[in-house]
Symmetry: C2
């Protein structure tokens, strides 16, 4: 079965995009077929994967608001040939308000994604992993991702505010499970921007592990300037600086995610 991850957390700047692109690249480097869906109007994931997404470039807006086929909209990542991207464009910024009055507004991404996965399956290029990068909110774009998804990957920054919004996020996931997508479950928590030198980081990490137990990946992603430099070269840290602590930790996190599949 194709694994479909929703990378979500309404707290801003916690590493949703960074996790999406680097885990996707790490999975692609293991030879897996990966699709990234960029649901953030800013298009940071599209940028990091070197996918042109200037205003007017067709992408996820056309798929969910206009009903176009994803197969006509995806672009392949130049650095990773088995990684395809459904890009975001600026038009997506208005999509949340436009979606409010559309029919089946919560499940438009699910419908488009399922038909694309069928096309890929019939063409003998089955997609192994889908990663959906969400904007920092719990509006209709993130709800669309949660209806289309099977697993939720929550990046948690090792900072104080990180714990504050978690309750709200988990409640929203429960609501989607109860009314829209019973298959959805939180399977993966990833600690990001972990700074071993500060008590704050250690404190937050401990609290998260005590709360979420085995769902928290053993690997914590360290705060590393190489990770934040990579997007300015339109690369993931895996190709920008392959032996850096950031690259190695994302490779290890991706390995843990593939191993976990056997447990589910």
């Amino acid at each position: 079965d194709t694994r479909i991850f929703v990378v979500a957390n309404q707290k801003g700047g916690v590493g949703k995009t960074t996790t999406t692109v680097n885990v996707a690249a790490a999975l692609a480097m293991r030879g897996l077929q990966v699709l990234v869906v960029d649901l953030d109007p800013q298009g940071n994931a599209s940028t990091a994967l070197n996918i042109p997404h200037a205003e007017g470039t067709p992408g996820v807006y056309e798929a969910i608001v206009e009903g176009d086929d994803i197969v006509d909209l995806v672009q392949t990542c130049p650095e990773h040939p088995t990684l395809d991207v459904l890009p975001a464009s600026i038009d997506l910024a208005g999509a949340e308000i436009e979606l409010v009055s559309l029919v089946a507004r919560e499940s438009r991404l699910d419908k488009a994604l399922q038909s694309y996965l069928d096309v890929r399956e019939r063409a003998g290029r089955r997609v192994d992993y889908v990663l959906i990068d969400c904007p920092p909110s719990l509006g209709l774009l993130t709800v669309n991702a949660m209806v289309a998804g099977r697993e939720v990957l929550i990046p948690i920054q090792c900072e104080y505010y990180a714990l504050e919004g978690l309750g709200q996020l988990l409640r929203n996931i429960d609501l989607v499970q109860a009314h829209l997508n019973p298959r959805l479950q939180v399977t993966t928590i990833l600690l990001t921007m972990f700074d071993a030198r500060t008590n704050l980081s250690a404190g937050v990490a401990q609290e998260v592990r005590e709360h979420f137990h085995e769902k928290v990946l053993r690997t914590a992603i360290p705060r590393s300037v190489r990770i934040s430099e990579a997007p300015s070269y339109q690369q993931t840290v895996l190709t920008y600086d392959p032996t850096s602590s950031g690259a190695l930790s994302y490779l290890e996190a991706a390995r843990e995610i593939t191993v976990m599949a056997k447990r589910l």
Copy 2:
């Protein structure tokens, strides 16, 4: 005239809340009367200012969706007696969708704020500064802030993605100016999480200064662990660690903002 700042940037985690609470506290320490409006459903600003905002606490939701008077909803910050806060609560999370179908949906905060400022003026406690902390999106909550505001303060994190969303933010501000609030102008840009050791920080800072010129405060806020520890003690960095680089830079930034008033 009361200065009304909208602290906005749809990019997440750039320091909107940190800037709102620390500039507000610094202004209050200069004896000014300050009001913080917490428009982020996560209520991080309310937490940092030690304002209880558990589910069910009346606050900004009641003011903008139910039309209650702000004078009945504000709470005073324990650490700073001239700093009042209109708290956010979890109910605010649903407000964006609820607002879509309400009459005068964009100007409900403006109307509530203006009547509160009148009440304060008549009571001889005129408000000198209002700071509105926005969520990381450009939806109806941020639009409400921009209609109520007179000046926009844009925190820009010294990271690569910081520049990507700026165009969209400035376009949205232009739209609000043209159709909803002609008095709104971008007056202040603040560089945050500046790390003098990295080229990335220096590069972003230079680009921002070349683009926005004198609107960029001379003071850049350094990345500092003391700043991120303060909220876990329900304090601003100004009382948590008054002589730290973080506290001193926010004091200086607040001073620059007050001096700028004379120029406008």
